[in-house]
């Protein structure tokens, strides 16, 4: 469905958005394509149109030239829908945030359990806590880096890389909350105790994880995007 009435007047980017929305809506896709897709397609058509006008073509010919880009709206809508699902059983969020984040959490937990066993074995020896806590804390730099690297590798945005790397901190936070709840129910502890536990059990490990993510928060090919002429 093409609205030929648009051809006679100068099209703005907002006009193109409405034009794309109307043409895609007429395909009755359930669920409809996202606003982000509509905006991107409209921007492309607007650029084609503007280039045509810059070449000195009339409004009608410029409109026709832009309109030719879409060719068949039904086919285009279906191709986009198909492309977004194809070869991607997982959503982008799952691939770039949940899988790297949860995997890092599992690996860090397994390592933590091993270190706890080691602490039990070494218990009673001088500096046993330091011998265990030192390498355990250092491992958090590595786990933070692992989560962020994994997410970046599959195209995760910067915030997703950060969250993937710091994901094991959620386990610490959950444990801390469990300690707080059990303490409230069964015993009275001074506030300083909770503050100390919070710093040593949540803040310091989270900071180590966050530091580990830093080298992977930069984009490898971050260059300026040229403006459309």
């Amino acid at each position: 469905m093409h609205d030929r009435g648009n051809a006679g007047s100068r099209m703005t980017e907002a006009n193109w958005r409405s034009y794309v929305r109307t043409n895609l809506a007429s395909q009755r896709l359930v669920p409809p394509l996202s606003e982000e897709v509509i905006e991107e397609l409209a921007a492309h058509l607007h650029d084609v149109y503007q280039d045509a006008l810059r070449l000195g073509l009339s409004l009608e010919i410029a409109f026709a030239r832009a309109n030719r880009e879409a060719a068949d709206w039904r086919r285009l809508a279906k191709s986009i829908r198909h492309a977004r699902k194809e070869e991607d059983p997982m959503s982008h969020d799952a691939k770039t945030l949940w899988v790297p984040g949860v995997s890092t959490l599992v690996i860090a937990s397994l390592f933590g359990m091993t270190m706890t066993r080691l602490l039990v074995v070494l218990w009673g020896q001088p500096r046993a806590t330091l011998l265990v806590a030192g390498p355990w804390l250092c491992s958090y730099f590595v786990f933070g880096a692992l989560g962020a690297f994994w997410s970046r590798r599959v195209g995760g945005a910067r915030w997703k890389r950060f969250l993937s790397g710091t994901f094991p901190a959620t386990l610490h936070l959950a444990t801390f909350l469990a300690i707080v709840v059990s303490a409230v129910i069964s015993e009275t502890r001074p506030l300083a105790f909770f503050a100390r536990v919070f710093v040593f059990w949540v803040i310091i490990p989270a900071a180590a994880l966050a530091l580990g993510t830093l080298p992977f928060l930069r984009n490898p090919a971050a260059k300026a995007v040229p403006a459309a002429s």
């Binding site: 991107e40 650029d47 285009l76 070869e87 991607d88 590798r153 195209g155 971050a222 403006a227």
Partner: protein, 113 residues
């Protein structure tokens, strides 16, 4: 696009073209199409209908990543960049196509003889 190529080849050549131009710098959709057309002397031309399904497919695979950016002229455009996974995929893709064209070249040489 080259009308006579079978769909799989069309898709393969378009994938290579998109990854290759994005290896140079991040670009938005229209710029990708223009650059491919310019660099192939107009032989390979991607329209809106052929470009965006391909971009979304490559993004779903994690080879490219799109991000909205505001340009100097105030317009918002979704710029695509090659991810690490995409960069790794580009080298074998180039090698496959080089091999393919060498094979065709050898075949054409035999036919001409």
């Amino acid at each position: 696009m080259i009308a006579t190529l079978p769909p799989k080849m069309k898709r393969g050549s378009a994938e290579l073209a998109i990854l290759a131009v994005l290896a140079e710098c991040p670009l938005h959709g229209y710029e990708i199409a223009r650059r491919i057309e310019a660099q192939t002397g107009g032989v390979l031309r991607l329209t809106l209908a052929s470009l965006y399904p391909m971009l979304y497919r490559l993004e779903a695979r994690g080879w490219i990543a799109g991000k909205w950016q505001t340009q100097a002229n105030g317009r918002s455009r979704r710029a695509y960049r090659l991810t690490t996974a995409g960069r790794k995929k580009l080298a074998p893709l180039r090698a496959e196509w080089r091999l393919f064209f060498k094979a065709l070249d050898r075949l054409a040489g035999v036919a001409d003889a």
